[in-house]
């Protein structure tokens, strides 16, 4: 049953050291505010799951919050590498990062299987790929009707899924639209789910068959206007395309990265303050 609480309370109460955490989003509705709050509260030993880890996972990996990453494509979208992820894998800094690697189709199916409370998913995939050689979880299964050999992959059942959506009503029913990615499946696959939203409204005024998560299927709903920055929330604000190449520069160097994280995330109280400090440092740089 969703409670409408502050993001600080939600993260404090629902995300624990050692948890498997999925912060999902497919370049739209990235739960950036929640990612920062997890960093701010100093979580450790997390297993991070996401099809497309981007800046918030680069940040969590770079400050050493993650023990393991389960993913299918890790990059700075439209720019290039995630330097903190790369350095963790290539040099083990700040500590070795265990990697469990899949394809998009696999993880999408694994979330579907998780939401459906099944232990595994069946798909046609991985033929000829070396991925099953480095990931022992990628098995095969034989169709009992046709004899066809298909890929079998374990379902994803995160301890916590965190997503960002456009709005919720006062009971905590959540509505999202546009590119909704795997967020619904990730939310329903998890033991606990936190949703940050742009706003709380009296009535959702959702069109028929809209993508809605009922409040009783969620653990916490938190209001975080602009909480998807530098990603976008369709109908609210656009993507900040300049931040992604800027992040490339920040994250290339360990010290620059750590200083940036301290100044903007660890030493700020919340996402609103982060945005204010970011505006200040950007203005200072331009001035």
């Amino acid at each position: 049953m969703a409670e409408i609480v502050s993001l600080r309370e939600a993260v404090a109460g629902l995300i624990h050291d050692g948890d498997q955490v999925a912060m999902e989003g497919f370049t739209h509705l990235i739960p950036s505010a929640a990612g920062h709050e997890v960093a701010r509260q100093g979580r450790r030993d997390l297993t991070l799951v996401r099809m497309t880890p981007d800046l918030i996972y680069d940040q969590l990996i770079g400050i050493g919050a993650a023990r393991k990453l389960i993913f299918s494509w890790g990059g700075n979208p439209g720019v290039g590498s995630l330097h903190r992820l790369r350095e963790a894998v290539e040099t083990g800094w700040p500590h070795p990062l265990e990697i469990e690697e899949h394809s998009h189709a696999d993880l999408a199916n694994a979330y579907v299987a998780g939401a459906a409370n099944l232990p595994f998913a069946v798909m046609r995939g991985y033929i000829g790929s070396d991925l099953p050689k480095v990931n022992p979880l990628l098995k095969t299964i034989t169709c009992p009707f046709t004899g066809e050999v298909l890929a079998a992959v374990p379902s994803l059942r995160p301890d916590v899924t965190v997503i960002h959506a456009q709005k919720a009503d006062r009971r905590g029913n959540v509505l999202m639209w546009g590119i909704v990615g795997v967020q619904k499946e990730a939310a329903l696959a998890a033991k606990r789910t936190i949703v940050t939203v742009e706003e709380i409204v009296d009535t959702l005024e959702a069109p028929p068959n809209a993508c809605i998560l009922p409040h009783w299927a969620l653990s916490a709903v938190c209001v975080e206007p602009g909480g998807a920055f530098p990603s976008y929330a369709q109908g609210y604000y656009d993507r900040d395309n300049r931040f992604y190449p800027a992040w490339d520069k920040i994250a290339r160097n360990r010290d620059t990265f750590l200083a940036w994280m301290k100044r903007h995330v660890l030493d700020t109280a919340n996402f609103a303050e982060f945005r204010r400090v970011l505006a200040e440092t950007a203005a200072a740089k331009e001035g």
Partner: protein, 260 residues
């Protein structure tokens, strides 16, 4: 004929391979530029599907990310990502998969995972994304990447995405029923799999490029088809459409995204 860059030639040559009405699974970057150029020129009815969810996307400018809002706003419909992979790709409804890669070998196998050993990589690349299943389930595959010895390698450190494996009928023997790669379009020319050995063989050379340049940019002893033709240079219409698209994109995103 207007002057054109090798990147422009590559994008135009790739765009031409998309037939009007084809259903195309598009990756961000070079494939997305080529697919949208096709849509804006000879193939107005091409159906562009992005793995984030848009079906029939008609972006006004090139998306910077696989989930740009413009992809959703102008699409015929937007579905969840699992549905894209389950009902549309695995469902067998994609005619053409358009892929890029960091590295390719002579049998069009692709690496986007690591350079060096998997456990101690020299360079950690982004990973598989949608490519392994696109390569297996799309009717045919077009590959677009710049040609260089770093990218066109004798032996891949990691096969992320299947092409023709060891060549010959290895792909069929592995159980794949789709065609696989039908062309690799680069900034120097076009390579197509030999009908028997499935080794990538030069069939087209772009204007102004020499065989020696192609050989020098390839990490294996490159073969040429019996008949190698010069790629038809970009037409005025194609160049204008591409440059307008890039200019609109740069203006919209507030930065120069180059001609990719």
């Amino acid at each position: 004929m207007t002057e054109f860059t090798t990147n422009e030639m590559m994008t135009v040559a790739a765009a031409r391979r998309l037939k009007n009405g084809a259903v195309c699974f598009v990756g961000i970057g070079l494939p997305s530029t080529a697919a949208n150029l096709a849509r804006l020129t000879h193939a107005p009815d091409v159906v562009l599907i992005y793995e984030s969810g848009p079906i029939g996307a008609k972006p006004q400018v090139l998306p910077l990310s696989i989930g740009d809002g413009d992809l959703a706003l102008n699409a015929d419909t937007v579905v969840a990502t699992p549905e894209i992979f389950r009902y549309w790709l695995q469902g067998g409804r994609i005619n053409v998969g358009f892929l890029g890669a960091a590295q390719i070998d002579r049998h069009a196998n692709l690496n986007t995972t690591v350079i060096g050993p998997y456990d101690r990589p020299k360079t950690r690349l982004p990973g598989a994304g949608g490519a392994p299943e696109i390569a297996g389930s799309a009717g045919e595959i077009l590959i677009i990447l710049r040609q260089s010895k770093r990218a066109f390698v004798d032996r891949l450190d990691f096969i992320t995405t299947v092409g023709f494996l060891d060549g010959g009928d290895a792909r069929e023997r592995a159980g794949l029923k789709t065609k696989g790669p039908v062309a690799v379009i680069t900034d120097l020319g076009i390579l197509e799999p030999d009908p028997v050995t499935r080794e990538l063989t030069v069939t087209h050379i772009h204007r102004g490029v020499t065989r020696e340049q192609l050989v020098a940019a390839t990490g294996w002893p490159l073969k040429f088809a019996d008949t190698v033709v010069e790629t038809e240079p970009p037409t005025e219409t194609e160049l204008t459409a591409l440059r307008d698209l890039n200019a609109r994109t740069a203006a919209a995103h507030g930065q120069d995204q180059g001609s990719e």
